[in-house]
Symmetry: none
Subunit: 220 residues, 4 copies
């Protein structure tokens, strides 16, 4: 299921030594800074190396080409994001669906917002062709985690886990991104987040009635 990156995009060496790690981190941070301050168009290898305080040559020791750098940056970010989602999912195992949804919203929203500039920088960097694969991999991994989580909910009844997951995931991730792109005020952001949670809750409650034989709300 995991497609894995094209060979050309793989990082050259896994930074095991601490010096390497520091260098790579500096490069990543520099990339974000440049992306942020000057945009995708100005993201040149020279500029990144300069800001990272290393030479271009050194950069090429860690990344076979520019695309690989951007790729790795996104990979790293998405890996961390997936990890956080998995953590949340593990934590919420066995909780009611509504709480799961709320926790997922919390996690995702926080992740996207806490370093908004980084998020924005990365959105900008995704022009690169093959990041599609990256996104698919992330989706697959996140979906696996959330699907498993939902399946463990006591109020799952006989719902179709994949479909429920698809619905909640699409709504939550999609809404958060849209919110992000709107550049909302803090107040609006809080409201929207609350309403999104309410919406998921309402949806789950209605479905619950269906599945528990209760009278559907629409007929009440």
């Amino acid at each position: 299921m995991t497609r894995g990156p094209k060979p050309a995009l793989k990082a050259r060496k896994t930074p095991v030594q601490s010096r390497s790690r520091v260098t790579v981190d500096a490069i990543f941070e520099a990339t974000i800074q440049v992306l942020l301050r000057e945009g995708m168009r100005a993201l040149t290898t020279t500029r990144v190396a300069e800001r990272a305080g290393v030479s271009v040559g050194t950069m090429y020791q860690y990344f076979p080409n520019k695309q690989a750098l951007v790729y790795a940056l996104n990979e790293r970010y998405l890996d961390a994001l997936a990890g956080r989602i998995e953590a949340t999912c593990a934590e919420m195992r066995g909780a009611p669906l509504a709480e799961m949804a709320e926790a997922l919203i919390d996690t995702y929203w926080t992740a996207k917002t806490e370093r908004a500039e980084v998020t924005r920088a990365l959105y900008r960097s995704v022009v690169e062709l093959d990041n599609d694969a990256l996104l698919q991999d992330f989706a697959t991994r996140a979906d696996a985690a959330t699907t498993a989580m939902f399946a463990s909910a006591p109020d799952m009844a006989d719902r179709d886990a994949p479909t429920l997951n698809l619905t909640l995931a699409a709504v939550i991730y999609g809404t958060v991104r849209n919110a992000f792109e709107r550049g909302l005020s803090d107040k609006d952001a809080r409201r929207l987040r609350r309403n999104l949670a309410d919406m998921c809750q309402a949806y789950l409650a209605v479905k619950a009635e269906h599945h528990t034989g209760a009278i559907a709300w629409s007929t009440s």
Copy 2:
């Protein structure tokens, strides 16, 4: 409210004559094709002109520079999209909120899906600088239309129109985009679309109960 494009991005001549229109259309179409087949990176003026069957020089007769071309393409698309949303909003004036939401989902989903490649091509192109302004303009226009529509609903009660609008707009547009990016199968797409509508309906129903004094579901 509308910021308007930077002068540098304005198209050079408005294609009034039929020949001009044909040419401009060919250029737009070619841009989409290139974007689609080769990605943003390969979107060069030469390539576009070639595929459009005109010379670079001709292209520059209509667009002062490459950015302006991409800008105009997005402008055109977003203008049409906003128009469709406005039409839907006009049509649904006075209908119940749930129906409005459903109609909005229909319109937006259809617009994004009926020429999926175009949508995909444009998503790829929006990364370019200053298209932000374009998106903001679109959002402003669309929000105006939907807010007005919602305000006309008989079951609006004492809801806060801007907040309701923000919620539904963010959820609907966000979810549709997320769905789109997942490249769902037809079946999954249909399911998600249905569930998104249900979700909105459920949310509106619950809120309705609140506003009509009914006992909230969560306490039942």
Copy 3:
């Protein structure tokens, strides 16, 4: 001796009809204007045609290419200049050398100064390769006139006419151009002009002594 222009630089048609003459004049004037206001770099056929109020196509009816236009402009200017020099020479025939020199300075200085911008514009346009030939032709023609004039002076004695001519011509033309390029104030300009005349006079006087058997000034 006259090399004549390369065929490619010849104007296409001699403007005999009055309409043609008006058009050509407009084009010339437009060329000067553009040269003046925007410099050589901005001297494009489109721009010239536009300012002249004709279409590029029409321009190409009168000049086979851009170089020919610039060539013709310079040719016209130099022709007029040579004409004025010839007129002065004719007028001064038989006068003393010193008066001849003064008259030549007057004529040349006035010609260069009375429409200084035009002079400047033309200096700018001379980048064009083959204008060398043009300049040579002018020099030949002017030298012929001045040499003849000098030869007619009563105080020529046994001087070498070509050498005297070379000396005076080089000094006068050279100094005037240098003065022009310095962008002198009116006062400085007047002073320099006066001193240039004095210098020529002094030179001629000394030579006269030599040639008349008088004791050379330097030994007195």
Copy 4:
């Protein structure tokens, strides 16, 4: 007093290392060659780089743009020329005016003639925008040197130094340029040079008489 170049025209790196110096020299030399053989019109970055035996990229490492290259070339030449004039002025300090004039002619004439092609190439290149400033700077510097020199002459009497300087400088520089452009034979060149010196001498002698109370030549 010195205006200094626009920032855009400054050279990118000062060639301190020997390799850099060689490269820059090669580029300068190539520029002159192209200018000479093909004229200003054909002075393209590619052509220069090619003839210099380096890549365009390398050229741009040393000069931020084409104009800067031409600018630097002229700057270098004019700097050397000014230096030579200053040296002559220093050397002639305290000498009689006539000898000063002769020395100035020698220096200037030699400088313009010894590498005639270079001179010619540069005359062709000066048309470019903003080299005006360069010329002004040169003039200012040279005038400062010559004015100071003239002021130190024993036979300055109560002459106006600036005016004397303006006169001699304009006549000498102007005449030399004109001579140069005429492409004189060696014999004619020698003659003209001699006569120019004589002319200056005659002018200074006459003035001297005025200032020393002697009877003016014209009345003798």
